[in-house]
Structure formats: C-alpha cells, structure tokens
C-alpha cells in the first residue's frame, strides 16, 4: 500500500489546489481546514465534507475551477439532476494526464501503436469520445474518430480499415454485433480483437454475447466526467475487477459516510491526484461497488474495484446517457397544466434501451379533440428530448393509473433487469 505519508502528501496537494476556489475555502473552513497542513492524518481528511453534483450545480458553470480560465483549454459536461449540466474544466497538463491514464490502461490490455482503434463513443460534451481518442493517440495507435451512430458506416469502416479495437457503450457494441448480418459482413471479415466498453452498467451475460458476435475480448472501463472521464478504472485481460489508476484515491462509504472495509459494497467516493483545472475532492460517484488493494498478475499494484452494482440515487443510464427522473419532471411541468404524475418505463428491445414516459391526464389538460391531445403529447415529448437529448415515447394515461406507494408515486420502472 502507498506509504501513509505519501498518500497524505498527495491528498494535501489536492486540498491545496481546491482551496484556490472560494467555495471550497468556505466549505473546508467549516470543518477547521484552512491550509493543506491541517490534514495531519487520514481522519482529518475524512472530516472533509463530500462533494456532490449539487455543489457543481450551485457553482455553474465554472465556479469550482481551481485554475484561471486562461489556463483552461477544454470543458466537458454531463447531465445534472435538473436542466443545467455539470461542467468540468481541464488544463493542458490535465488533458495530457488523462491521455496518459487511458493509454496506460490500454497498454495493460496489450494494445499498442500497431492497433487501429475505432472510437464509437459520442464526441462532444460527453467525455467518452475525446477521452478515449486522446488516450489512443498517446499510445501512437491509428485512431478512427467515428463517434456514435450511423451503424452501417461504422461496420463498413470497421471492415475496410481493419479496426482491431472498438470503444463504445456495451449496448452499442451489441447493436453493432446484431447489425453485422444486415450489413452483409461476417465476423470473420473483421480484425477486431479487443473491445473497451463503458459509460453504462452491463452484465457478464452481455459480455459473452458481445464477444460471441464480434469475436473480441470485451473489457469494462469506468469513469465519470466529474473525476476525469473514462479511464478512472479499467479491467485487464484477467477480468478480475477494474484496476483503479494511481491518480485516483478511492473510498467506499456506508450511507452514513463511514469508511467500509475492503470487499464491502458501498458508495464509491473519489479524490484525484494531480488534476489541476477541476480537482475532485471526495466526489460522490453515487455508484455502488467494493474495492480491494493488491497486486494483479497483469502488473497493476493498487486499488481494484468491482463492477458497479447499482446506484445510490435514482439516476438511470439509458443508451449511455445519464438521466434523472427530476429532469423528466421538469420537462413535464414546463409544458404547463399537467400534474407531476408520471412513470418512466425503461426497457430493452433487442440491444437498444427504450424509454417511454406515461403522463397522467388531468381535467385541465384534457381536450376532447384528438388533435389537441396529440399536440400535447408532442410538446411533452419535445421538451423531454430537449432536456435529456434522448428520443422518447410519451403516452397519456388516466389519472391515478400510475401506481403509488406510500402516497408517493413510483417514478421509474426499469424492465431491463434480467435481459442482456
């Protein structure tokens, strides 16, 4: 294990960096931490209040950046619990560090400069596309910046360019696999050998299915924009868990915020080392997992986390996009006159996630002309799509038809469980 003093020094440097943001100065002063040197023991560090999405929201957009905007060369963002995204910033050094972290993970998988890496994660505010892209370039591989969508073209290029590594969400990988026949391409026409899949939860069953269809070894990668992006942890070919990169200090906490021993499942909380633009200090991932310390035969020494088993909050991941029920609620209420009784049904048709939102009619919104009702339906649908950026179905239903439990409406019905 890291020598205690070495760990504390790293944590102190992160504290020093975040203290450049006034919000953190105030927050840490409340627990008696004014200088990095106030962190004398790990217990002192554990006094520091956790950082959440809400902290980012309150400081939207750039309030938590620890470097002047002159030093920031890129921003990324992920969906917030309400309409405003959570924004993170990177210095030039941060981008290099991130690329190095991703490249190191790739190296453990035996990916080299000889590989042709097809990046089919979305490019844009989402960290997936560009995060993997820079890592693959750092490695010196040939990078194909495909971004998501346009499946037929993806497959054609995969065959014609001889892609050896595919990076995308696991559900899209499965979809690509299922679309091969339609595109008239056989698995044997492809040179794929490794797939690096993440940004949404998946199962062993899904791994087997993807491997069979695409003829590759499927690897799980984890990350979130608030702590860097993809690459925080990644499996090696042993697939015994996701090795956490040395630039992240993980804690696993119980619901009261107490540290849990190795192997016990709780919420993963992450502190970054060496990230300057947007350092993460005890950031709550809201993901449930367990961690253990050790050396793997792949050569990695450090923390390894298990595949994420669930969420602390009600966030859904639909086709790789983070969706909070509160966003849907906001969209519905913004249409006006509608009662906030809704149910989000998430399902999987074949390899693709589907979303349907049931909205209860009320006397105020009901109009006996079908045209008006369809209009209402369309308006709700467009609002939702504008806010979360995913296509959805909207169905108007009768009042009180959505089940309520203990007086509170059930917001989400996830029917994907048990399906691949």
């Amino acid at each position: 294990m890291l020598v205690q003093e070495e760990l504390l020094n790293g944590l102190r440097r992160t504290v020093e960096q975040v203290l450049k943001a006034p919000y953190y100065q105030k927050k840490l002063a409340e627990v008696g931490i004014h200088y990095p040197s106030d962190i004398k023991t790990l217990d002192d560090f554990r006094k520091i209040p956790l950082t959440e999405k809400e902290d980012l929201r309150q400081n939207y957009p750039f309030g938590l950046f620890a470097e002047p905007m002159d030093n920031i060369i890129r921003v990324h963002a992920s969906s917030g619990t309400t309409g405003k995204p959570t924004v993170v910033g990177y210095t030039r050094e941060d981008i290099k560090l991130w690329a190095k972290i991703v490249a190191n993970g790739f190296r453990r998988l035996g990916i080299t400069s000889k590989d042709v890496i097809q990046v089919s994660y979305g490019y844009g505010l989402f960290t997936g596309g560009m995060g993997i892209h820079y890592g693959a370039e750092e490695l010196g591989a040939v990078v194909i910046p495909m971004s998501g969508g346009n499946t037929a073209k993806q497959l054609m290029i995969m065959r014609d360019f001889g892609s050896t590594v595919l990076c995308c969400t696991p559900s899209y990988a499965l979809y690509l696999g299922e679309s091969l026949a339609e595109a008239g391409i056989s698995k044997d026409d492809l040179k794929l050998r490794i797939g690096v899949f993440g940004a949404e939860p998946w199962t062993e069953k899904m791994r087997k299915e993807i491997e069979a269809r695409l003829g590759l070894t499927a690897i799980d990668i984890y990350g979130l924009s608030e702590t860097m992006g993809p690459g925080v942890s990644m499996e090696c070919l042993k697939c015994v868990g996701l090795h956490i990169d040395e630039h992240f200090y993980p804690e696993v906490l119980d619901p009261e915020g107490n540290p849990l021993p190795e192997g016990e499942v709780g919420e993963l909380v992450i502190t970054t080392f060496g990230k300057m633009g947007f350092p993460s200090l005890r950031y709550r991932t809201k993901d449930l997992t367990s961690i253990s310390y050790g050396t793997c035969s792949c050569g990695h020494t450090g923390w390894t986390m298990q595949r994420v088993s669930g969420r602390v909050d009600d966030m859904l991941i639909i086709r790789g996009v983070n969706v909070f029920p509160s966003q849907i609620e906001e969209a519905i209420l913004s249409v006006g006159g509608i009662e906030p009784h809704y149910l989000i049904i998430v399902d999987r048709e074949g390899p693709l996630d589907t979303m349907e939102v049931l909205v209860e009619m009320s006397a105020d919104t009901f109009n006996d002309e079908i045209r008006e009702l369809e209009d209402l339906q369309t308006r709700i649908k467009q609002r939702i799509e504008n806010i979360i950026g995913l296509s959805t179905k909207v169905r108007l239903v009768e009042p009180k038809s959505i089940p309520r439990s203990e007086g509170k409406a059930k917001r989400v019905e996830d029917r994907r469980k048990g399906k691949i």
Partner: protein, 131 residues
C-alpha cells in the same frame, strides 16, 4: 348543448367500465361517438343533465370535459347532410368533428357538431334557419 367527453386509456375493458358507470347512474345515452388513437381514446356522449353526470364521473376518477356542441336536425334523405354542410361551409364554418344519430320517436336524423368558430356558426344557423 353540452357534450360530455371522457378520456379513455386504450386498455382492455376500459370502455365497458365507463359505460357501466353510466348505467349505474341511470344515464341514457342519446348519442355516442368514439375517437381513438393507438394509445388512448375519447368517448363523446350526449346525455340528459351532462353537468351532473360529469361530476359523478369525476368522483370516480374519470377525466371528463363538457364541450359546447351544436345538434342540428338534417333531412333524412340522400344528400340531406351534404346540403346542411354546404350551407355551413359557405359561411366559413370549420367543423372539428361530428357524428350522427337518429331520434327514435320521430325518426329524425340529427348531427352533433363541434365547430371552431361559434360566432360564425350562430350566424349560419340563423341565416339558413337551421334547427
């Protein structure tokens, strides 16, 4: 006249449930139309005391609405309805929806009509002396 409209989810037996409620309230349906889409439908009925019936249905968790409609008598012979409509069209009346029924006592054809502009309709009805 006020028409009573009820929102119906497209679920098995839902229409029967609402009709059973009307039976329970001892309401006689004089005219009825059902508009439907893939997911839901709208039941439109002409009944006695629609306000009272609407309240009762609301108490039983139905989404209801009272909509002003026109009920016109039309000659029960080929071209009868077309004649009436031609008159309305010439006055600029736009029909949102309509449905027909036959009054049993006097074997009279009647149509229930929802129009976009009530004032134009009023003028037209007056001009052509429609009932």
């Amino acid at each position: 006249m006020l028409q009573l409209s009820v929102f119906l989810e497209n679920t098995k037996g839902r229409l029967a449930e609402v009709l059973n409620l009307l039976a329970e309230f001892n309401v006689n349906i004089r005219a009825l139309s059902l508009a439907d889409t893939k997911d839901y439908g709208v039941l439109r009925v002409i009944v006695e005391n629609p306000e009272e019936v609407a309240e009762k249905l609301k108490d039983r968790n139905c989404v209801v609405k009272l909509t002003p409609v026109w009920v016109l008598r039309v000659p029960d012979r080929p071209g009868g309805l077309a004649e009436v409509l031609n008159k309305l069209v010439s006055e600029g009346v736009i029909v949102e929806y309509m449905y027909a029924f036959v009054e049993r006592e006097n074997e009279q054809a009647q149509v229930v009509m929802r129009v976009r502009d009530t004032e134009l309709m009023q003028k037209a009805v007056k001009k052509y002396n429609l009932e």
